[in-house]
């Protein structure tokens, strides 16, 4: 504490110290710094994926503020007389005209717009990959389920913030996207028409859309996201960072470098690297050239109208769904759009709920700070890959026309491929991934018991050739066997100690079945035991 009294202030403290003392007296920074300055973070490149997201989010906010200075969120119709010749004299909304002005007449406007948009594309992609890292390493397990949900919400909110931002310029491409969304809203039974009327302030497109999307895009959603980002980071600090298994790393420690100075320097530098890479891309590559698209008019449409990539799988779901509909009592239920909307929600909900499902299956109530290597959780890894496969297939469905023209294929053939692959692909991916994981587990087991294949062939006196296996170091053996293997949950005896019959509930049976699928025989390779290792290395010669 900094209770400087008159008696010991004979020498004058350095300026920095006095400023720090002043701040501590009012903010208590010494206590905070003491608790957090030496906070340890483990070193691994995949732990920096979240940083990419954080930094691109900051870049989006900074560039977004600049854009708000020049953007007019208004749907008043005006005639364009700016500097882009092919739009001269065209009637358009102020929103579109001001976006053209930002692109051509505001100093640095186009670069900032492109940084904003590229950063958004990369932000979403970064969140996707960050989430996959957390998923495949099992970092979502207790105590981090809530933080997983925060991250999930950030992804979903990011998708919708991106969507509303993409709609603001009111160009022909984004207008088509909004029309698509309105169609999805309308497909909801009973409430659809009401929600549409409420959202657009009357019939589509109306005159309120841009102004409403504007406040959603720059205030409501980013505000919530900012709060979630802060909460996400606080929880990372509170839980401490996870680490990969290795010698000296336990569930009760974190092995790595301190926040100050190492990670402050690294993270600070990384921010500028991220900013630099995004700025270079934005300076060199066009994104969303709204000037080529023209103003939105409901009677016009272009081919190749897609949303940004993170909405692409929703686009795919609608594109490949057969146009079924039910007409009853004067009402239409558009299954061709409504079913994709439901599947879209289910696919997202599956990610959100997975940690809870797995916790229920394992019944594990302990905390986990050591990460799983993906191969050591074969069923989880296979499920994740199956999900990603379904997602990627739908991205192909969403871009079916571009795939058709650029690979000289029939769009109908692609659509049928996607329809079949959406069901078959995840199953195949699940089986293949699981086999690969089990194969890798066998390899690890082999390495621990027999050592690394050295590639050196030795000829024995009696003529036999053997390959020399180099034994692993103790540290390597530890890393390969540090993971924990669950035993499948049993339903338990159906008769209790008093001989009274107990009927297992349906949930118990389901849990036992799932648990067997996760951890039963053949679904994980038993890791080598100490006895096995000792027997092999006890000097009975080469296996």
């Amino acid at each position: 504490m900094s209770t400087t009294t008159a008696s010991d202030s004979k020498r004058k403290a350095p300026a920095g110290e006095r400023v720090a003392d002043w701040a501590d007296g009012r903010l208590g920074i010494y206590g905070l710094a003491k608790a957090n300055m030496r906070k340890i973070f483990p070193d691994h490149w995949s732990f920096m994926l979240g940083e990419i997201c954080l930094y691109s989010f900051i870049i989006i906010i900074l560039t977004g503020v600049y854009l708000t200075l020049f953007f007019h969120p208004s749907m008043n119709e005006i005639e364009y007389h700016g500097s882009y010749v092919p739009m001269q004299g065209i009637r358009m909304t102020e929103a579109y005209a001001s976006t053209l002005d930002i692109s051509f007449d505001v100093r640095g406007g186009l670069l900032i717009r492109q940084i904003h948009h590229w950063a958004a594309v990369i932000f979403l992609a970064g969140m996707f990959v960050h989430m996959m890292r957390v998923f495949f390493t099992g970092a979502f397990r207790k105590p981090r389920e809530v933080n997983w949900l925060f991250g999930f919400l950030l992804l979903v909110l990011g998708m919708f913030t991106g969507f509303t931002g993409y709609s603001l310029p009111d160009d022909l491409l984004s207008g088509t996207g909004v029309r698509f969304t309105q169609g999805a809203i309308l497909s909801m039974p009973i409430v659809g028409t009401y929600i549409s009327m409420f959202l657009f302030g009357g019939e589509f497109p109306g005159h309120d859309m841009v102004a409403r999307f504007y406040s959603i895009h720059i205030l409501l959603l980013p505000g919530i996201m900012l709060g979630l980002v802060v909460a996400h980071l606080i929880l990372v600090f509170y839980h401490k960072h996870t680490q990969f298994p290795g010698p000296g790393r336990t569930n009760n420690n974190v092995v790595g470098m301190p926040l100050l100075p190492v990670y402050m320097a690294k993270a600070g530098g990384f921010f500028f690297l991220v900013f630099g890479v995004i700025a270079v891309i934005s300076g060199m590559f066009t994104i969303n050239p709204i000037w080529t698209m023209g103003p939105y008019r409901p009677d016009q449409v272009s081919t190749g109208a897609q949303p940004d990539w993170y909405m692409g799988f929703a686009e795919g779901l609608v594109r490949v769904m057969p146009g079924w509909e039910i007409n009853l009592w004067g009402h239409t239920l558009v299954l061709g759009v409504f079913i994709p909307l439901v599947v879209f929600g289910l696919m997202l909900a599956a990610i959100a709920l997975y940690p809870f499902i797995e916790a229920w299956i394992t019944g594990d109530k302990r905390e986990h700070h050591i990460l799983d290597r993906p191969r050591n959780a074969p069923t989880r890894t296979a499920l994740g890959v199956a999900w990603v496969t379904a997602y990627m297939i739908m991205l192909v469905g969403g871009g079916n026309d571009i795939f058709a023209t650029h690979f000289h294929l029939s769009i109908n053939a692609i659509t049928w491929f996607v329809r079949i692959a959406f069901f078959a692909g995840p199953v195949i991916a699940f089986i293949v991934t699981k086999r690969i994981c089990l194969g890798l587990q066998r390899r690890d087991r082999d390495k621990v018991l027999h050592g690394r294949e050295s590639g050196i062939i030795k000829r024995l006196p009696h003529g036999e050739f053997v390959e020399i296996h180099e034994p692993l170091s103790q540290a390597q053996r530890y890393s390969l066997t540090a993971h924990e293997q669950y035993t499948p949950a049993e339903i338990g005896p159906t008769v209790d100690e008093n001989g009274v019959e107990r009927k297992p509930t349906r949930m118990q049976k389901l849990r036992a079945k799932l648990s067997k699928g996760y951890y039963g025989e053949g679904n994980q390779i038993p890791k080598p035991t100490v006895e096995e290792y000792q027997e092999i290395t006890s000097g009975h010669g080469h296996h």
Binding site: M48, G269, L273, V277, I281, G294, D401, I411
Partner: protein, 269 residues
């Protein structure tokens, strides 16, 4: 005379006589030629048709029939007009290499004179759209912005915002309009080749066609300025998303790997 008769048995005499005879024949032909020329002037058209029919018999008849009446392999050419021939042959689409969902553009092997002869022959089969003159299709002084509006209303649903092309059903497609000559764009609108609807002058007057041509030349051309940098194909968010993932996030992950690999190390003393 003596000199002549003295050499009448010279070994080269026969050759000289032959040359004289040939010269006389040639002279006589030359004398009759003016009459022949006058006849040709009258039938320049018929001569072109004649030549065109020959070209047609070699290159087109196997699918379109010996008289342009059409077969199971190709449609009738009666009434398609010279503009259609000029477009199809001029862009190399015809003669087709093979049947398929759509006949692609390829290198044109006919000279413009031959194309004109073919067009003359096909035009003689029945009245149809006539090959436009430069005055008709030249985008000089046309209204680019209006062309853009017309393009988005009539063309963009298949050809994309700026004519980058797009997919149609069952392997058919609307081709990209990059560097298509104004004449061929005009003819395509006039005749509606393959899967394209036609926009005759009654629906889309000559001036509007010029506006559209001017717009395409402005936004989809080798000289078109791309103020945002490389256009990534100009096909919209699919290529942008792919680029963002592979090069955007890809290079950031590479940077992350690099940063993580350069960590502070404990000093060895």
């Amino acid at each position: 005379m003596k000199k002549l008769s003295a050499r009448r048995r010279h070994p080269l005499a026969a050759v000289v006589v032959l040359l004289l005879a040939l010269a006389a024949t040639g002279g006589l032909y030359a004398a009759f030629a003016p009459a022949g020329k006058a006849q040709a002037d009258e039938t320049a058209q018929s001569l072109a048709i004649e030549e065109g029919k020959k070209l047609y018999t070699v290159g087109c008849a196997s699918c379109h029939g010996t008289g342009g009446q059409g077969t199971t392999d190709g449609p009738s050419l009666v009434g398609v007009g010279s503009a259609a021939v000029d477009f199809q042959v001029g862009t190399g689409r015809m003669p087709a290499q093979q049947p398929g969902a759509q006949v692609p553009e390829k290198r044109n092997i006919y000279s413009q004179a031959e194309i004109d002869q073919l067009a003359a022959y096909v035009a003689s089969l029945g009245p149809g759209p006539i090959t436009p003159t430069e005055k008709q299709y030249s985008p000089q002084g046309a209204d680019i912005a209006r062309g853009g509006d017309l393009f988005r209303t009539n063309c963009a649903q298949c050809h994309n915002f700026t004519g980058a092309g797009g997919a149609l059903t069952h392997g058919k497609y609307a081709p990209p309009l990059t560097d298509v000559s104004p004449k061929h764009i005009y003819e395509a609108m006039q005749t509606g080749p393959q899967n394209m609807p036609s926009f005759p002058d009654t629906i889309m007057p000559e001036k509007e066609k010029k506006d559209i041509i001017a717009y395409i030349r402005t936004v989809n051309d080798d000289r078109t300025a791309t103020p945002g940098g490389f256009a990534l194909g100009g096909v919209g968010p699919v290529s942008e998303g792919l680029f963002g993932w592979i090069f955007g996030l890809g290079s950031l992950i590479a940077v992350a790997v690099w940063v993580a690999a350069h960590t502070a190390k404990a000093k060895k003393s």
